[in-house]
Assembly symmetry: C2
């Protein structure tokens, strides 16, 4: 899943770069993309040595957010393994405040909206806890978690959440859908705590919280994970 | 480094598969490759968006071991980022004992030895501890560590070792060489302890040990890591 997640994020970067909205260009004008929501839903998974590709397109642009969808397909196009949906904010890298996306490149991004491309999965569903979730693991973020800006890579949060579910459970079940909301950033050497609640034998709700110096906690992201038996 | 390490291991798999010695075929005759030693030495690293490739070849075959070398080069061939060396054993997947490599495919592998291909880095150097190393981290292996056979992926050991070095140190220094010896296998949900010894401001010796049910420890791998200032 981590490998697939990175392919999705790389596809988003290549696609936006080719259209003049890549982070390499945005950095030069003190802007960057921040991932706010990500959904990945798989009906099957590529097997070892299978060749697949990730398609991506912008499905909607609001003032400070853009919706980007994904399709994961076999090279021949015969098999659609699944779809993704994401919501990105554009922020000012100095003030960390949202900025008007349409103000960049004279609204060029509006030319690239493909609202009719199908992405037939349910919209993002927020994680909700019925009761107090259980602390299942604690991790200090390290070298492998950190991106070039010193932030924790978006996919690494997913990997830490998946690691909070027992290996034996993964052996018998396969993740079929994840809905993740990113709410606060973590950095290298942050201490994080992962809480889960099991809402059915196939459903986990997860909260990943950064531990502050005063031992209070800030939720960095929360997710719903749905599994199917293998 | 983890990403690069995976490229090396994938290159080894593609190269051996194309020559009739891939693990997909070997599995059908109850044989598999086991990585025993790995050296990666980099004189520089590809930057974001740089295109590079990994070349690999077999430099020597002994009865139960084979030497495989690597070169990491820019797509144009102008830049050699570094080299790798590895030693692989072939084992019987039932008895876990080494088997005679030349007995497979009537010794076909001897046709593929390229002893004259240059790999101008120092040979593997074993990790040695001057005194008692310091326990720096403890990890329980999870979903992201495990390969299709339930073993910990060879590159994940390297990632855990790199995470045992402070993020702040990585920010100021870049890994330029790692020599790793794999001695025992770990599985998912194993508890591991990582010990390090600093032999110079740029050199770490690392021991990764599996904790057994009686709290004794078995060394799974040990490494020397050499860093250069960024």
């Amino acid at each position: 899943m981590g490998h697939l997640g990175n392919h999705l994020l790389n596809a988003a970067d290549f696609h936006s770069t080719e259209r003049g909205y890549g982070i390499r260009y945005l950095t030069t004008i003190n802007r960057t993309w921040v991932l706010s929501r990500l959904v990945i839903e798989l009906s099957s998974t590529p097997q070892a040595y299978d060749e697949f590709y990730v398609a991506t397109w912008v499905s909607n642009v609001m003032r400070t957010f853009t919706h980007r969808d994904f399709a994961i397909q076999s090279l021949s196009g015969d098999i659609t393994y699944g779809y993704g949906q994401s919501i990105w904010a554009m922020i000012d890298t100095v003030t960390r405040q949202p900025v008007d996306i349409v103000s960049i490149n004279d609204g060029l991004i509006n030319k690239y909206i493909e609202p009719d491309e199908p992405c037939p999965i349910e919209k993002f569903r927020r994680a909700r806890f019925a009761s107090s979730p259980t602390l299942v693991s604690e991790v200090t973020t390290g070298y492998t978690d950190v991106d070039i800006n010193g932030h924790i890579n978006s996919v690494k949060y997913i990997e830490h959440m998946l690691n909070a579910v027992p290996v034996e459970y993964h052996r018998r079940n396969q993740l079929s859908r994840i809905d993740i909301a990113y709410t606060a950033e973590c950095h290298g050497a942050d201490h994080i705590r992962i809480y889960t609640e099991t809402t059915s034998p196939q459903d986990f709700t997860v909260s990943l919280r950064r531990v502050n110096p005063d031992d209070s906690e800030t939720e960095a992201c929360s997710a719903r994970m749905h599994f199917v038996p293998r």
